[in-house]
Subunit: 333 residues, 2 copies
């Protein structure tokens, strides 16, 4: 009898443990409320094999913008801060930049002035700082920069300025059979060296903008050389194109934060069957930055109207997120 009793106790403990695991909050940094409940209801609906909204695992494609959706984007896109650091590093070999725009302004820290030349100035900055080396060399440059450089106001590593609630969402989706992708206007090769470690998203699931590369069979072996020509701009109407090109399936979940994501959200919403379309709204000027319709970085205007008109989910960072950054770096801002 004693043995039987112990066994029953053991069984009860086991069941309890299982129940605890099942009921553990998958999104602990999300406050309770309709946003969190909506995400969970969606995931439960598409993974319920007996339900009408079931989606086979192979079709569970989730796409996320990067800047302003998975990590911060203030005071400017982090890749632009990388480009400025590259201009400084390359100055000794290019002394004429001291007096030549857009570099001269950039070197004085006057980014606004540097970008007054419009798209041409931006392209010139990217081409001179992102091209001319092999892909292996560029990967090394990015890896070193991301491991050591610090954000101008928080002084944190850039990889510490990712959004904790979104990391939890990515993990929750993957635990439910989703394949998670980044679909960003940022450079694909600027992201790939660190996204697996930081987001759990491998290089082959990163979609982004790119410049052309060229195969060369050198004495030392084959290399790919980055050449100063735009290959693909994965922004605005380019995002559905990028999704189609790289993934070849319609996502069933998409998250963005700006008008640059609107086409991707439309594209995702258009598929038949249950869809989740979300926008991160930067409403927290205390813990992060508050901006939307009037911002030059990550402007959220038309997409906010569309979200309201179409019933898409708008995440209110201030209200919906218990924590913003993994280390709660926000207070040091």
């Amino acid at each position: 009898m004693r043995t039987a009793k112990l066994s029953m106790f053991g069984l009860a403990a086991l069941l309890l443990a299982c129940a605890t695991v099942v009921q553990a909050d998958p999104l602990p940094s999300w406050n309770e409320g309709p946003t969190k409940a909506g995400i969970i209801a969606f995931v439960e609906a598409v993974t319920d094999a007996t339900g009408k909204d079931f989606v086979a695992p192979a079709e569970r494609v989730a796409v996320f913008d990067n800047d302003g959706t998975l990590w911060a984007e203030n005071p400017m896109y982090f890749q632009l801060l990388f480009a400025i650091d590259r201009v400084k590093a390359l100055l000794p070999q290019n002394p004429e930049w001291e007096t030549k725009e857009p570099f001269a302004s950039l070197l004085r820290g006057d980014v606004k002035g540097a970008l007054e030349g419009g798209e041409r100035a931006m392209v010139e900055i990217v081409m001179t700082t992102h091209a001319g080396m092999t892909t292996a060399e560029f990967e090394r440059i990015v890896s070193e920069w991301i491991a050591t450089s610090r954000h101008p106001t928080t002084n944190g590593l850039y990889t510490e300025m990712v959004y904790q609630p979104m990391l939890e969402l990515l993990a929750y989706l993957r635990a439910n059979g989703f394949k998670t992708y980044v679909v960003s206007g940022g450079g694909i090769e600027f992201m790939r060296p660190w996204t697996e470690r930081v987001y759990g998203i491998p290089p082959e699931q990163i979609v982004g903008s790119s410049i052309k590369v060229k195969f060369e069979l050198r004495e030392s072996g084959p290399v790919l050389v980055r050449i100063p020509e735009i290959d693909f701009i994965d922004d605005k109407e380019g995002k559905p194109v990028g999704i189609h090109k790289y993934i070849g399936r319609l996502p069933i979940l998409a998250f963005g934060n700006s008008d640059g994501d609107l086409a991707m959200l439309h594209w995702t919403a258009a598929g038949s069957g249950l869809r989740f379309v979300g926008l991160v709204h930067h409403t927290d000027g205390e813990r992060e930055w508050a901006y939307d319709r009037a911002s030059s970085v990550g402007r959220l205007d038309k997409a906010l109207d569309e979200a309201k008109a179409r019933g898409w989910t708008v995440v209110d960072m201030r209200r919906d997120w218990k924590a913003i950054f993994p280390l709660e770096k926000s207070q040091s801002k």
Copy 2:
């Protein structure tokens, strides 16, 4: 005692069953010999966690050319046969093709004559037959064609003209934690509709040539329209570029069958650590087609010399493959 005996018998049967599963031949359509042994030795080396050649599962990337490597390519690339069928289908809306090259020759069945116009003729054929519709419409057209059209000499479905030994190799690699990719000069959207069903390779693991697509927000919803402009040619030096663009990792195994694959093979071989580089050599004029250095389709010349010089594996179809096609369609050729 009887119970104990039964249990021991049960245990022995179970162990035997397990041993049988472990020892089952993963490549039954490959004849015993150095080629098959080399493949198995490679897979065992990179998956042995205690060995010096161990490769983490995430890095087990295997790339395969399609035409002539995974399915046949005679009397011409199957996608060209698709294009000819499209020209015929579109003739009523384009009656001028009756007398206009390269269409006139194509309609007379004179492919050689049609292609006398060189690359320009080829591009014109592809552009007129592969562009002008939405991506969803094109997917439907390809799906219908692949499900119903028959090969001019074997009268088999094109998806029956895939190589059984390569299907086994793909499955064997995946069972050992590899991610398998197609890296083909063929059109990415010509392959994606059927590769998952036929090869077990999902659309997001297909790399190929592409034309541009354009996002349009129509009354009926958003669409991507295929426009008559080359986006990317995934052939020759384009193959390492495509691998880098779409996968972002170096493959550890690559298989091709022609000089168009040589750059991809060089690129794969260049990585540090153990690599498997293979060529399918079409040596079986009885069961398939015999061709190499002098062929206009799938010419294998330089790559054959390189393979010999560098010790890459050359699969001799006649000697190494017990069966060629899943249904042994070869006899009806």
